[in-house]
Amino acid sequence: MSITLNREDIVRLCERVEGAQTRAYAIPKLTNEYPGMTIEDGYAVQSELRRRFIEQGHTLVGWKAGLTSKAKMEQMGVNVPSIGFLTDKMARPENSVISTSDLVHPRVECEVAFVTNKDLAGPGVTAGDVIDATDYVLPAIEIIDSRFSGFKFDLESVIADNGSSARYVGGGRARRPKDIDLRTLGVVMEKNGEVVGMGASAAVLGNPAEAVAMLVNILHDLGERLPAGSFVMSGGITEAVAVQPGDHVIARYQDLGSVSIRFGE
């Protein structure tokens, strides 16, 4: 597979996604109009979106791996993970109220996040390389928001939509990866005091560090590397859960503490 869309189509689709993201409305999945779209086409649209955001003054802070658990792949009907970029404009502080009026249909998931202190470049990056290049890991909540109607999409469309990235919240307790077992971290997500998701970190490709390695190797295919100081979210351990104004969400982690957020209008 390769890029099949011409420059004009890529810009056109990018503008469509950018409009939906910045003005918070749903659009049909892109493959309805471009059924021959490839995964590479999806990344071409995403790269154009990243270029535009950076041109508008957003700062690239890192990347996210998506669709990395069996639960998520089954929920979304896809079979390969994806990646998306993260900017400073998407960050929200722990214990804050997150507005939903600028989102389409937000959902939350709990993830283990990594902060690196060495450059990582594919191909062939392993989980061991990732651990070696990790300053610390921390618990995080990702607020995903597909811009596609009814959260109905395919891999090509979701990649163009930057992996449904919308907001992210890091918090809890930072830990050196060598001080904990990254595979067996237990996670409980509660919404308004009720448990809505449970699992252990191995749900993400067997080990969240594997998801980061995969992400770096995909970055290589896109001609990118992961610079030291990057923030990386390794993918949802639990299924994504819909939220609305008034909801309180807390993600509790073994050894990493918790992250708590509320949602408002």
Binding site: K70, D181, R183, T184, L185, G186, V187, V188, V195, M198, G199, A200, S201, A202, A203, G206, I237, R252, Y253, Q254, D255
Partner: protein, 265 residues
């Protein structure tokens, strides 16, 4: 239900256990059977095993997760008795030929160093009275045809207990967060499912406290040295000849088990 019928049903279960055959659900034959009747049938079934030379070595707690409680339409766990012939050591191969329709579950086992006398037992008492916790596998098995069980059927059938194996690594419950400890279950070296302690009644210690209080009401002793299987943290795993399972509990370690032979059904 009169004692004659209780004895008859208990004997029927014992015979099914000996012959490795299944019987029709009691709830089909006696729709009015109560939970109290069911526990009396269980007592008779276990008494037959004790009369044949087995010793009671502990208890198992079942129906501890919300999905299973919803499925069976109950809002509390159940329990069964562990006997000396159910015990396997880590490293042993479990002979499926001795079972009828087995499935495996990964759990946390508690071993008591003090008696727990309900009513009035809390999770704090459980931690105080616990010698150690360890990862374990319970191989559940049903003497009821096709696992067509209502709560009364499984309770009468000793909470569908088959055999169990306790891992050789252990931890003091003061040294590990048993509520947040993640559980990773692998089958034949592939990730099968993940879970967390909180999946069991909010915490495995809550399940053990429930058992202490329930036994207290029934006048059944709960003694130092007894083993308690606190309830499944995984999905049920079908097992056949040659399968190998490993469960790893974060902060404690793992338990592995292999299977050989063919079950009756």
């Amino acid at each position: 239900m009169n004692q004659e019928k209780i004895d008859q049903y208990g004997d029927e279960l014992y015979q099914a256990f000996l012959d490795r055959k299944t019987i029709a659900p009691f709830t089909e034959r006696d729709p009015d059977i109560t939970l109290e009747d069911a526990y009396k049938i269980q007592l008779r079934f276990i008494q037959r095993r004790v009369d044949a030379g087995e010793a009671i070595v502990g208890k198992k707690i079942g129906v501890t997760s919300k999905p299973v409680q919803d499925f069976l339409g109950v809002f509390q766990p159940d329990f069964g008795q562990l006997t000396s012939n159910m015990v396997y050591q880590e490293g042993d191969v479990i002979d499926l030929g001795g079972l009828i329709q087995p499935k495996a579950e990964a759990e946390l086992a508690f071993v008591l160093k003090e008696d727990l006398q309900g009513p009035g037992v809390t999770a704090m008492d459980v931690i105080r009275a616990t010698d150690y916790v360890a990862p374990c596998f319970e191989i559940v098995d049903s003497r009821i045809r096709d696992w067509k069980i209502l709560i009364q059927d499984t309770v009468a059938d000793n909470a569908s207990c088959g055999v169990y194996v306790i891992g050789s690594c252990k931890a003091d419950p003061r040294d590990v967060d048993i509520t947040m400890a993640g559980m990773v279950l692998e089958k034949n070296s592939e990730l099968f499912s993940t879970g967390v302690g909180a999946a069991v009644q909010g915490s495995p210690a809550n399940a053990v406290a429930w058992l202490a209080n329930t036994l207290g009401e029934l006048g059944i002793p709960f003694k130092a040295g007894e083993v308690i299987l606190s309830g499944s943290q995984s999905n049920l795993v079908p097992v056949v000849d040659g399968d190998e399972l490993v469960c790893t509990v974060g902060g404690i370690g793992s338990c592995s088990v292999r299977f050989a032979g063919r079950s009756a059904v």
